[in-house]
């Protein structure tokens, strides 16, 4: 009967042979010499780096998320840039220098000379104008994806730009309709990367039906890397731009691979198939360092918050929303003392080791500590520090007891993780427990993140309590407090229903203030009103981290996530 086993043993042998061909990928050998030595960076090498996804689109103007920016940032460059590691220090990019004041309306950019696009054409003022013209005139289908152009500049009548003109071959003048103190910060975003006009032409970039700029790897930028090939869901391969105007990259090739699951990214690093990845699972920080890998911390530029909405039940009823379990009776959150009890009941500190791997800070205000405004805003706010006894007392004083408990409904999103929210369900459970310990009765709800049920309902203010967070686009309190609490006419932001006397005036004053010192004080006033009335509870500024193999050097993390791989080098193995 032995021959019967033949099939089986052949198959088994084949598997063993394949398994034995493991080659040289010993993962955790941890040769200690690699990580310490700085020295001169080695030239050459291929770095495989994993993000959660690849780029949504290869047309920079149509992207708005960090994963897309990661790739396109290497290829396309913007007029102005952030200094390495800084969230607010502007340096020259494709514009070598510029003039323009935060409270003025005219910005003059002097284009860097002798810069060539990767297709060999020259960068000049006309190319910059062509790019901004294209973005301003994008068709509606494109506008749907061009989030930041809409946000920073605006389409059609909403545009803050009066004109963009080339006054000579190397000078571009932007004239705004009104002063905008954060305009330059907006231009730093990779979606404002300048594309070669010849490439815009050859890829039909303005024709929604036929554009290939969104899908094809083209030599369209001025950046340190050229996109050589792009296979969706598989990899993006970038090669060094030998003609780069600035300091050239050390790496020969940079391959970005998509691995959605953070645990799988670590496994890939351990297995040797990648040499670095972003967004390490906080619970894996120890595993990274124990395995002989490098953990590169990226300080927080975000904040997780608990939204409280006193008028949620009225809003939900008006909109005909029926939840299961249903809202019953008046919202206890209408009493500011109860809202304060919510904040006092939450041990923000305890969330950091459990969910952020111990890396992060308690969010007393919305502004992350990496912001230049953090101290000023924090100085204006009186913190409500964890005190469950005080919370219980406040509830009792407000007339709630065990027989007549304060019932609040609390939502969390599913199918999503964010840098500020690594484990929504877990955070929800932990905070529910804390609220219950302080005497609240909590009804749990969840909904899918990108579902009107969560984002839509949360932002329309149908939820008593909900989680959301924010990663700053640029360093300005207006991008944090302003975006969330701005009034629509006389209506406070629906999401929080934060109807506080004087808030509207304070917001208007802060928004219009361009002079930096006065701007800080004005936003401090806004923050004070918001936090004193507990319109939301800022919870944690979560740090994130990248991991690298021991032979990779020189990665410089930036809180905004805008990072170029030029400084990265690899020791030969």
């Amino acid at each position: 009967m032995n021959h019967r086993w033949r099939y089986f043993s052949i198959a088994a042998a084949l598997m063993l042979v394949l398994a034995a061909c493991t080659g040289t990928q010993s993962s955790t050998s941890a040769s200690a010499s690699a990580s310490g030595s700085a020295g001169t960076p080695q030239e050459g090498g291929t770095l495989v780096f994993a993000g959660a996804r690849l780029s949504d689109s290869l047309d920079p103007a149509l992207t708005s998320d960090g994963e897309s920016f990661r790739i396109l940032r290497q290829v396309y460059e913007t007029l102005v840039d952030l200094a390495p590691g800084s969230t607010n220090e502007l340096i020259g990019g494709l514009a070598e220098t510029w003039e323009g004041e935060p409270d003025g309306t005219v910005y003059t950019f002097h284009i860097r000379p002798n810069v060539k696009f990767q297709d060999g054409t020259d960068l000049n003022a006309a190319a910059v104008v062509a790019n901004f013209d294209r973005m301003a005139n994008m068709s509606e289908e494109f506008q749907a994806s061009a989030y930041y152009y809409g946000q920073v500049i605006g389409f059609g009548d909403d545009s803050i730009i009066e004109s963009v003109e080339a006054t000579d071959d190397m000078t571009v003048v932007f004239t705004l309709k009104r002063p905008n103190p954060t305009f330059l910060y907006g231009l730093v975003l990779p979606c404002f990367g300048i594309v070669s006009p010849a490439i815009l032409e050859s890829t039909n970039a303005s024709d929604f039906e036929n554009t290939t700029l969104t899908t094809d790897a083209v030599p369209g930028g001025t950046g340190p890397f050229i996109l050589e090939s792009y296979t969706p869901d598989d990899n993006a391969t970038l090669v060094r731009n030998e003609n780069y105007w600035g300091e050239k990259a050390h790496l020969d090739r940079l391959i970005i691979q998509p691995i959605a699951d953070p645990a799988a990214r670590l496994q890939a690093l351990q297995g040797g198939s990648i040499q670095g990845f972003d967004l390490v699972n906080p619970s894996d920080y120890e595993a990274v360092t124990d395995g002989g890998f490098q953990l590169v911390e990226r300080l927080s530029f975000n904040s997780l918050y608990l939204g409280l909405n006193p008028s949620a039940r009225d809003n939900a009823e008006a909109a005909g929303r029926n939840y299961d379990p249903p809202y019953e009776g008046d919202s206890p959150l209408k009493d500011v003392a109860v809202r304060r009890a919510v904040e006092l009941a939450i041990d923000k500190e305890a969330l950091i080791p459990a969910f952020y791997g111990g890396r992060g800070s308690v969010a007393t205000t919305f502004m992350p500590e990496t912001s230049q405004w953090a101290d000023e805003i924090a100085g204006a706010v009186t913190p409500n520090t964890f005190d469950p006894d005080a919370a219980r007392q406040l509830l009792a004083d407000a007339g709630f007891s065990e027989s007549n408990p304060a019932v609040i409904h609390f939502w969390y999103p599913t199918e999503v993780t964010r840098p500020y929210m690594p484990d929504p369900a877990g955070l929800h459970q932990a905070i529910t427990q804390m609220l219950e310990d302080a005497g609240f009765v909590v009804e749990s709800h969840s909904d899918i993140w990108d579902d009107p049920g969560y984002l839509f309902d949360a932002q329309n203010g149908y939820y008593d309590l909900h989680f959301l967070g924010w990663t700053g686009d640029w360093d300005d309190p207006g991008n944090f407090y302003g975006i969330h609490f701005a009034y629509d006419g006389d209506t406070p932001a629906l999401q929080f229903g934060c109807a506080v006397d004087g808030l509207k005036d304070a917001l208007d004053a802060a928004d219009g203030e361009a002079e930096p010192a006065a701007r800080g004080a004005a936003w401090g006033e806004v923050a004070k009103l918001v936090h004193d009335n507990v319109c939301f509870v800022t919870l944690v500024h979560g740090d994130t981290a990248l991991a690298f193999a021991p032979n990779v050097h020189g990665y410089e993390a930036n809180p905004t996530g805008s990072e170029v791989f030029t400084t990265v080098s690899m020791d030969p193995e």
């Binding site: 699951d261 953070p262 645990a263 670590l266 496994q267 351990q270 699972n281 619970s283 894996d284 120890e286 595993a287 299961d324 041990d347 305890a350 969330l351 080791p353 459990a354 969910f355 969390y412 599913t414 199918e415 484990d423 369900a425 877990g426 929800h428 459970q429 932990a430 529910t432 427990q433 749990s444 709800h445 969840s446 909904d447 899918i448």
Partner: protein, 298 residues
């Protein structure tokens, strides 16, 4: 996900419906090792579900962040999760949900599927054509995607999950019963009964359905197994019950598989619970099939 459907030989011979068949089947089941093991495993989980409050050492939904990630120890046999909840207690209470969802989904699936299958197999003609095309369409969509869509549509919850799984089972049961009825139509005794003038409906109810029932029972048992897997897969994909404290096994896996690198026990124990219960139902179904299939009765 509905692989076990194919375990069943397509055509089932008719059987005489006599007390003898069933007692005979029971007798043979007692000698079938797979049936015995299956019954033991399922019995074990059933007892666990019934006596959960007495067996579980801790409250499955209460935890303390200070007790996060305790590895298995005498005080927490299966360790604790990030919330500091006791994993053993959660698995014990989870058996209630798993068995409940499985049973409910199979009951609903058999009921609707049998009605459709009976209509199809009895009336034939355009009724058959319409129902069978509907079945074809449903079977052409990957089952898991279908279940995801149904749960997203109905909203998350235990009953909704059971309904989604039941809908997946409907075409399988419908096809099975129709097939049995079609082969029975041509069998000698049905032809004989028809020729002596037994009215059609009573022929269906009194003579044909009872004979078509044993494949349904076998398939139902196997469907219990797939239901457990499907419920866990939905939980794994984040479509379990809305309260994250619910100790559903699939959700326990999806909550913790991110910690596979550091705390493999968090993934291992709920996974083993799923495998064991599915195995129990499969063994039982296997044993039932061998006992009820007259071809194997030798």
């Amino acid at each position: 996900m509905s692989q076990t459907a194919t375990l069943l030989p397509a055509a089932h011979e008719q059987e005489e419906r006599t007390v003898g068949l069933w007692s005979d089947a029971l007798r043979r089941m007692r000698h079938s090792p797979s049936a015995i093991i299956g019954v033991t495993i399922i019995g074990f989980f059933l007892l666990m579900a019934i006596f959960a409050p007495f067996l579980a050492p801790y409250d499955p939904t209460r935890g303390n962040l200070a007790d996060s990630y305790l590895p298995p120890s005498p005080s927490h046999w299966f360790g604790t999760n990030v919330q500091g909840q006791d994993v053993l207690s959660r698995i014990i209470f989870g058996s209630r949900l798993t068995l409940g969802i499985a049973a409910l989904s199979v009951i609903i699936g058999i009921s609707i599927g049998s009605v459709l299958g009976a209509l199809s197999g009895y009336f034939r003609g355009w009724v058959d054509a319409v129902i069978m095309r509907g079945v074809d369409i449903m079977l052409a969509i990957p089952g898991l995607l279908f279940a995801i869509a149904v749960v997203t549509y109905l909203g998350r919850g235990v009953v909704q999950i059971a309904i989604a799984i039941a809908i997946l089972n409907v075409p399988i049961f419908a096809r099975l019963l129709r097939g049995s009825l079609l082969s029975l139509r041509e069998s000698d005794y049905v032809i004989a009964a028809r020729s002596v003038g037994v009215p059609g409906f009573s022929l269906l109810v009194r003579h044909m359905l009872p004979n078509a029932i044993s494949p349904l029972i076998v398939q139902g048992t196997l469907a219990l197994a797939t239901a457990v897997v499907e419920a866990a897969a939905l939980g794994f994909l984040g479509l379990g019950p809305p309260d994250p404290r619910t100790p559903e096994w699939g959700m326990m896996l999806s909550d913790t598989y991110r910690y596979l690198n550091d705390a493999a026990y968090l993934v291992f124990f709920p996974g083993v619970a799923i495998v064991l219960s599915v195995l129990g139902f499969n063994l039982l179904g296997d044993g039932l099939r061998e006992s009820l299939d007259p071809k194997l009765r030798r």
